[in-house]
């Protein structure tokens, strides 16, 4: 496997007002690998992704992309680097067709008119490179697609732009069994084509089915980032729920670190 990470975060801190959401978080994303980002609700997964994609500014820490330290101030900076995010809501427009959706906001033009032919060819080429066979026509309205097909279009949209890192937020949530299988195979194929993939999921089967590495967040801290060939399901569950498992994870908390929040007794 590749030795140098494509994207590396170190010591990321992020607070919203008085609430510190991310504490000293590190994450490495390697090309050709799926890195699963797991954690309980509120552990900071979405915040971390929004920091990577330039939606939230970070308070501290460094982001390294292909070995160079970079500053990501806006989603535009992230896409310029080749980082694309597929959010849970997919952000597709029902009233547009597949090609229009894939190029929305970044349309190809030839002179002052849209270059429909090139866009259609690029969209078709991208879907073929992902071995997508479930879509009949590229000119179908997105409204007519099933959940799995929508997810496929959203993912294809993310890889259309010579992306290097694709972040997928719960891509299989709310899909049926056959479509979940197709989307998982698509996620795997993205990485096998050489992209760095970050998969956020609550479903441990999905995580183990496609991941090479698993990063577990616990209350805003990175409990551990481990290879999927070195851990068991129960260890990951322990990392998610307790932040540690055996010699993996965060150091044990000492009682002296707890703040007394008993009402009426604070001086």
């Amino acid at each position: 496997m590749a030795a140098t990470p494509l994207l590396e975060l170190r010591g990321i801190d992020k607070s919203f007002g008085p609430v510190q959401v991310l504490h000293d978080v590190g994450l490495s994303v390697y090309p050709g690998e799926v890195t699963a980002l797991v954690g309980d609700n509120g552990a900071g997964k979405s915040t971390l992704v929004k920091c990577i994609s330039g939606i939230y500014p970070i308070d501290g820490g460094t982001v390294t992309f292909e070995g160079n330290e970079v500053a990501i101030h806006s989603p535009r900076d992230a896409s310029a680097l080749g980082i694309e995010v597929v959010y849970q809501d997919l952000a597709l427009c029902d009233n547009l067709d597949i090609v229009q959706n894939m190029f929305l906001g970044r349309e190809k033009t030839s002179g002052i008119v849209l270059d429909e032919a090139t866009m259609e060819e690029m969209a078709g080429e991208t879907l073929r490179s992902l071995s997508v066979r479930t879509v009949k026509s590229l000119r179908q309205l997105v409204a007519s697609l099933s959940g799995g097909q929508r997810q496929t279009v959203a993912i294809a949209k993310a890889v259309l732009w010579n992306s290097r890192v694709v972040i997928l937020d719960e891509p299989t949530a709310a899909l049926g069994v056959a479509q979940t299988a197709q989307v998982l195979e698509l996620v795997r194929r993205l990485a096998d084509n050489g992209l760095g993939v970050v998969l956020i999921s609550h479903n441990m089967n999905d995580v183990f089915a496609v991941s090479d590495r698993i990063a577990a967040l616990y209350l805003g801290r990175m409990a551990a980032q481990v290879k999927a060939s070195d851990v068991t399901h129960s260890q990951i569950v322990e990392l998610i729920t307790g932040g540690r498992s055996g010699n993996l994870g965060l150091p044990a908390e000492k009682p002296s670190e707890f703040i007394d929040i008993t009402p009426g007794e604070a001086q």
């Binding site: 496997m1 071995s131 049926g176 069994v177 056959a178 979940t180 299988a181 998982l184 195979e185 795997r188 441990m204 089967n205 999905d206 995580v207 183990f208 089915a209 496609v210 290879k227 999927a228 060939s229 070195d230 851990v231 068991t232 399901h233 129960s234």
Partner: protein
Amino acid sequence: MRAGPTQEEVRRHNLGTLLRYVHVHGATSRAELTNRLGLNRSTIGALTSELISVGLVSEAVPRETGRAGRPSLVVRPESGRVYAYALSIEVDRLRAARVGLGGRILEQYETERPPGMGVDDAVQPLARFIRQMRSSVPDDARCVGSGLAVAGMVRREDGMVRLAPTIGWVEEPVGPALSAALGESGRLSIGNHADVCALAEHARGAAVGCDNVIYLYGDVGVGAGIVAGGHRVTGHGGYSGEVGHMVVNPYGRPCSCGSRGCWETEIGEHALLRLAGRTGRTGRDEVLAVVDAAMRGDSQAQHALRQVGDWLGFGVGNLVNIFNPEVVIFGGTLRDVYLGAAAQIRSRLNAVGLPACREHVRLRTPELGTDAALIGAAELAFEHLLDDPLLS
């Protein structure tokens, strides 16, 4: 005693190498062939002309390369004109296809195979499919032979099906029966279903570029196609890869092979459906229904999937320790079981697999899906042509 191969032998070998390259990789420019095959440009030109003259490849100017200079001609296999018939006898299905050089399925047919169907009854529909396809073949097309995949143990030399417990056949001369029903249609090569699927995935699917591959195929039974060190593991008589009959549980259930506690009694379709309380049913849809029910929170289905996943992980761990593969592919209904129980399977594999053996193993689902058997069966038929393209 000769010192080395003659010039003619070298030329035939090179012809085969070039043809094999475009057969596996599809249309390739002459410039790339020169790089990949390590032959000089004029040799590639001469070999290509010779293959064109016997109608195996064609050459054309590429559309646009976007680069300066005269574009290199693109060599592509004559998929429409050179083809093989591919047949597959599976537990619940009979399938037939016409596959073009380059591994492209040109047309395909399938029908159900009711349980207990005998050899003669199974051969008839396959022969009918072939007659049907033969009538639509263009006049200038050339058939290089036929390949058959059988979900059972097949004797390499004559295509005798020694034992196919899931189909219910013992010592059945399927090869001769099919040849007789087909009449004249060239050579018939027969292989085991999991073996030919492994062949197809290795050549053009999820295991491209891997020299050590285990393809597990599961339905009612479980078999493996194994590639070790770049070569197919066939065994002495062609019967290797019967991993479904590794005894994993000596106190387990009786197996259709006559033994007890074979791996397939713990991970086959019957085991999953029995544990899920759906005894008596069978087929891919039923397996999907169990995975679906487990996803929706049915605790019995979840338990069934977890238990089958556990056993699957144990067995895969053993195979990984023995073969140290780069990739393990879960085919047939094991694909759905893998995707639905990956947490169990990975955890077991990580617990029983030796760290050095398992550290680089990739677990994958097939890329060619159910087409793998047909593409692989055709591969058996193309093998003779690729060994010596001038042999007619």
